[in-house]
């Protein structure tokens, strides 16, 4: 095996360079990484046209994201690529922490059944991007993918943005109502605008190696898990992390000295013995090796009039916790329907501002968790090292100390509870939470809640309650028979998660925005208006 085959995407001469007048598009997406691509698909599914401009023409090269969380997979499910990713990916849910040569404890990230998607899959970023590009091609009239189109300048004119684009055939100009900066951690858009992007940079360096090997380093018949070592015998005084990926590829992260020479450390003669110390004498091939330093940073504001930052351009985290790409996909989920609602004229432009509020909050949570984990891994002073050593010592048999051991708090869906689009209320799943999946039985057989809730405002009624008919709002009944689609809760999972009775109003991104017991049309209209930013002054 020779690893992943990178197939370059075709460059097509843009119409602007073939004599057409400068195009004006509803949305320009700068960057065809996982975030830009997912956003284009989300918008296309809502009927919004976009042009996606990328300076490159291949998927992500080398060792980047591998862990995709349940919530991300549910969003990818809505975008039509979740099942394909699940099938190809390596499913896992157990994390195991070691200290020296002893296991100190393990955690189960999804201890309950009744979900379509697992806690995590591991899938190389190049596959994720490939699948997203292929899915984007399903919308030839709505997604205009332009590879080798580098955005070199932009000007915000108040109600539209003009862009300068460089291609192999020369440069051209175009205009868009909204400019979605999905141009990654090194965002040139951000730099052009002179926006401050400073935060914690960790001095420690990490060697990240992807290796291909026939035998599993987890041992024979072992199920893939996440293994993390503090001070292992094979890499004394430092930390190490092991993950399984598809195609018999394994990811190994090794902490290096603060002053290590990154270049020397990534040379095969230096890397091979380090890997052999972990996997033993079993044969393997080095697929990719790099040395990284990590940062935890976010922009103060994600929305600057018509320029909106999404994904790594808005926030960057260290990878322990897998909160980078997973956080970015939650950004996409949040901005997609809002942008569509504003462009289609149903919602005020202020709705876009709530993308900043909700996702800046989510991103701050990701940064807090990622930086704490990285700090625990890399004690800065003798006293920090002392506390950590004692925590690890106690963790062998003291449950309270196990809690303090932090090898990464893995990506969780972000709650939007208490934020202004949500109407306050009390229910087993409170307003602000994302849908909790559950198995259902319907007229066509078994299915899942996440497969039957459409990507628009939707009422879900549990038990014998009448859901009012409201224009633009879908209806689903659980454990009842009505003239709208109804399902029964299989094995009691849905009723356990949502209650026997009660009504939930779900936003187009699958977050609960209001709960009721017996709503009338007026109640639902009011909650929908609030969730679309039409009642900003009243909402506190």
């Amino acid at each position: 095996m020779a690893g992943y085959k990178y197939e370059p995407f075709d460059y097509v001469k843009p119409p602007e360079l073939s004599g057409a007048a400068p195009g004006r598009y509803p949305v320009a997406i700068i960057g065809a990484g996982p975030i830009g691509l997912a956003l284009a698909i989300d918008l296309a599914q809502r009927g919004i046209k976009s042009v996606v401009l990328d300076d490159n023409n291949v998927v992500s090269v080398g060792s980047r994201a591998i862990c995709w969380a349940k919530r991300t997979l549910e969003i990818f499910n809505r975008l039509g690529v979740g099942e394909r990713m699940l099938e190809k990916g390596v499913t896992w849910k157990i994390g195991r922490n070691f200290h020296g040569d002893q296991e100190i404890y393990s955690f189960d990230l999804l201890p309950e059944d009744g979900h379509k998607y697992p806690a995590f899959i591991n899938l190389q970023q190049y596959y994720v991007e490939q699948y997203l590009v292929e899915r984007a091609r399903d919308f030839p009239d709505l997604i205009d993918l332009r590879f080798k189109n580098k955005v070199t300048g932009h000007v915000d004119h108040g109600d539209h943005v003009t862009l300068a684009v460089e291609t192999p055939d020369g440069t051209y100009e175009m205009a868009a109502e909204y400019y979605l900066a999905c141009d990654g951690a090194g965002s040139a858009t951000r730099e052009r605008m002179g926006l401050d992007f400073t935060g914690q940079t960790f001095q420690e360096q990490f060697l990240i190696a992807d290796i291909e090997m026939e035998d599993s380093p987890f041992g024979e018949n072992a199920v893939p898990e996440r293994w993390f070592w503090f001070d292992p015998p094979f890499h004394e005084g430092k930390s190490a992390l092991l993950h399984a990926q598809p195609d018999n590829i394994y990811r190994i992260d090794l902490q290096l000295d603060v002053d290590a020479d990154g270049k020397a450390e990534s040379a095969p003669e230096k890397v091979m013995p380090r890997i052999k110390a972990i996997v033993g004498d079993k044969p393997f091939r080095l697929d990719w090796v790099s040395v990284y330093k990590f940062r935890c940073i976010k922009l103060d504001r994600f929305v600057h009039n018509r320029v909106i930052f999404v994904g790594d351009s808005a926030h960057v985290v260290s990878p322990f916790g897998a909160r980078g790409g997973n956080g970015g996909i939650q950004d996409v989920d949040n901005i997609g329907w809002k942008l569509a609602a504003v462009l289609q004229g149903g919602a005020p432009a202020e709705l876009i501002e709530t993308y900043h509020e909700e996702r800046s909050h989510g991103s701050a949570e990701n940064i807090l968790n990622s930086s704490r984990a990285t700090n625990f891994m890399t004690p800065k002073t003798p006293v920090e090292a002392l506390f950590r050593a004692e925590v690890l010592k106690l963790a062998h048999d003291q449950p309270f100390a196990r809690r303090l051991v932090n090898s990464g708090r893995l990506s969780q869906p972000c709650s939007l509870a208490g934020m202004r689009l949500q109407s306050p209320g009390v229910a087993p799943l409170e307003p602000g939470q994302p849908l909790l999946d559950a198995p259902l039985d319907g007229a066509d057989g078994p299915t899942w809640l996440i497969d039957v809730v459409p990507p628009q405002f939707c009422l879900i009624g549990f038990g014998e309650v009448d859901l009012p008919e409201v224009p633009g709002v879908a209806r689903i009944g659980i454990n009842t028979i009505r003239d709208y689609p109804c399902f029964s809760s299989r094995d009691g999972f849905a009723t356990k998660r949502y209650g026997q009775d009660g009504v939930y109003l779900i936003r187009p991104d699958g977050h609960v925005c209001a709960v009721f017991s017996e709503p009338d049309r007026h109640d639902v209209e009011r909650a929908c208006a609030r969730a679309q930013g039409k009642m900003m002054e009243q909402a506190v």
Partner: protein, 62 residues
Amino acid sequence: MSDNLGPYQDDFYNALMDAHAGLSEEASHALNARLVLMLSNRIGDIETLKDILEKAREYNDE
């Protein structure tokens, strides 16, 4: 020993590290000593305190 720090374990641990930030090793030792005394006063119960002292000491003898 019961497990009482969840779900705010990370908040606690970071507050503890922050309390030590910028101190010399000697000053950190002094802070730790004060912390032990103040936390002991908070616990109050002498049997519980003796138990904890003994338990913590066991890890030195390994």
